[in-house]
């Protein structure tokens, strides 16, 4: 049995914890660079704003509908994610942190009323951290993900599913007829592993609902669509094929996390571990042709072992979007050095690459690290030396990469600064103010 714990509209929910005035208002969080919506409050969804909608296309809603747009504050989201994940871990013995806002929990051996336990964990995350979550429970990861989708949809659109599936949905205990009804009411595109292309092909074949897909013969599926979709169908039929830590990478973040065989308390092996995780994450990143803008490193002690408890995370901004293993490993090691505290027995660490962008839209201008393939190879150390000399003589930022834009107070691409909320939980100067 698996559970999927997923924060609702996660980035928006993080912002609302520290700005309660945003409650009830349409809010979007914009990506750092290309200015499109990467998280939407329910009110923003109700305005018809689509995922990844470009900011220029929805900007008019600021005036017309009171839309609030914020720049992504991954430092804040990373810390809030860390808090949420360590509470979600209390649901069962194993955890796979799948992305910044989702984790799968293995429920093997968990006794008692699972629904009650899940509701308690959900309440605790809401009360302690301030993040509303939905939890899906089922026999396989694909079904758990579907259950989570149902729990969320039931909450957002009352009447779409039976009300008892709201917020926490356990498909494993649903009577067979009710399960069929639920699968029939869900479009096939909602299934984990069915992308837009396969969705279209399935629709053309008359496979419209999840029930249609679940009733297909796995062998036929394999011949027509391959082994990946076959695995999805088997999972929908209740046969677990995807283990924890064995998931395909999501689009928005790539995570590589692992529990250690034995607790680690020294810095050197922790650095080795996160460097390796960064390398693995970099491979996944290149395979989906993306670049990472920031990298999150986290580590925590085991809640099940005696001794002092510690849970830390840090977001390392990358100098420029990259898929370079060395650059990412370096960033992960720097992050670990920064957050490491001696005297604790760490049982788990991980690396999450966030704010991904397509490698196809990489800015090529004054690319100071790697020449494009069609450019002659050149040695940039002289250029670097000249830049440093000029900046040393005439002041910082006199010459800089064109992609940086103007630096200092004259910076005009200030949207990132302008709309970015403070680092409420990670910088003492930035903590929220309480009026007295």
């Amino acid at each position: 049995m698996y559970a999927l714990v997923d924060g609702n509209n996660f980035y928006v929910s993080c912002e609302r914890v520290f700005r309660p005035s945003l409650n009830g208002r349409p809010v979007v969080v914009l990506s750092n660079n290309d200015g499109c919506a990467i998280a939407r409050s329910n009110e923003a969804k109700d305005l018809g704003i689509k995922m990844a909608a470009p900011w220029f296309g929805i900007k008019h809603l600021e005036q017309e509908a009171g839309l609030v747009a914020l720049s992504a504050n991954f430092t804040l989201y990373g810390d809030m994610s860390d808090r949420m994940m360590s509470l979600a871990a209390g649901l069962g013995p194993t955890q796979e942190i799948y992305s910044i806002d989702e984790s799968f929990i293995g429920l093997q051996g968990v006794r008692g009323d699972l629904m009650k336990r899940a509701r308690t964990v959900r309440e605790r995350i809401l009360q302690w951290v301030g993040i509303p979550c939905c939890i899906g429970i089922a026999q396989t990861k694909t079904l758990a993900k579907l259950a989570n989708h149902i729990a969320k949809t039931a909450e957002r659109k009352p009447g779409s599913y039976p009300s008892e599936l709201t917020q926490v949905c356990n498909l494993a205990t649903l009577p067979a007829q009710d399960l069929e009804d639920v699968l029939r009411a869900t479009e096939v595109g909602a299934v984990w592993g069915v992308g837009p292309r396969i969705d279209k092909q399935l629709q053309e074949e008359g496979v419209r609902t999840v029930l249609d897909l679940a009733r297909l013969d796995p062998a036929t599926i394999r011949r027509r669509w391959g082994v990946t979709l076959e695995r999805t169908v088997r999972e929908l039929q209740g046969q677990a094929c995807i283990e924890l830590d064995d998931a395909p990478g999501p689009k928005q973040q790539i995570a590589c996390t692992r529990s250690f065989g034995k607790p680690m308390h020294e810095l050197a092996p922790l650095i080795e571990a996160v460097s390796e995780f960064a390398g693995r994450a970099a491979e996944k990143l290149r395979s989906q042709k993306s670049l990472a803008t920031e990298l999150l490193v986290f580590m925590h002690t085991s809640p099940y072992r005696p001794g002092p408890q510690l849970s830390r995370s840090v977001v390392v901004p990358l100098r420029r979007p990259t898929d370079d293993t060395l650059a990412l490993a370096q960033a992960a090691a720097d992050g670990m050095r920064y957050m490491y505290v001696p005297g604790y027995r760490f049982i788990k660490a991980g690396v999450i690459l966030v704010d991904l962008q397509s490698a196809d839209v990489l800015q090529r201008e004054l690319d100071l690290e790697t020449p494009a393939e069609d450019e002659p190879k050149r040695n940039r150390s002289q250029l670097m030396g000249a830049m440093d000399a000029i900046n040393g003589r005439y002041g910082k930022g006199t010459v800089h990469a064109a992609s940086t834009g103007k630096v200092g107070p004259k910076r005009v691409w200030g949207m990132k600064q302008e709309r970015r909320t403070p680092q409420y939980t990670t910088r003492l100067e930035d903590v929220p103010v309480a009026r007295a």
């Binding site: 005035s21 509470l87 409420y424 929220p432 309480a434 007295a436």
Partner: protein, 125 residues
Amino acid sequence: MPVAPVRAGFPSPAEDFSVNRLDLTQILVTHPQATFLLRVAGTSMRDAGIDDGDTLVVDRAIKPYHGQVVVAVVDGEFTVKYLHQRAGRVRLKAANPTFPDIVPRDGQTIEVWGVVSSCIKRFAV
């Protein structure tokens, strides 16, 4: 027959005293996932020893009850006050006679964001 543990070798005189040095985080933070720091702006909690510029340790895991210092959300902003809960009515009381109580208007609720567990006051050094 009573059995006593056998001691071998000469024990270090400090052995029984080897302890961890006091750690302020462990002392001040009971629920790390639920603990946030906030800065105080204003003088309404002066008589409770909470002054302008102090740093509050706020624990969201603690269930708020009558008489505690809490951070509440009033008109979308954080405010620090005493929580006063009597006869099913909730109000927020300042610790400074020049500030009136905050009483919820009809239909308005007071949301307690977290309970203040400590106040950190730093001096010029």
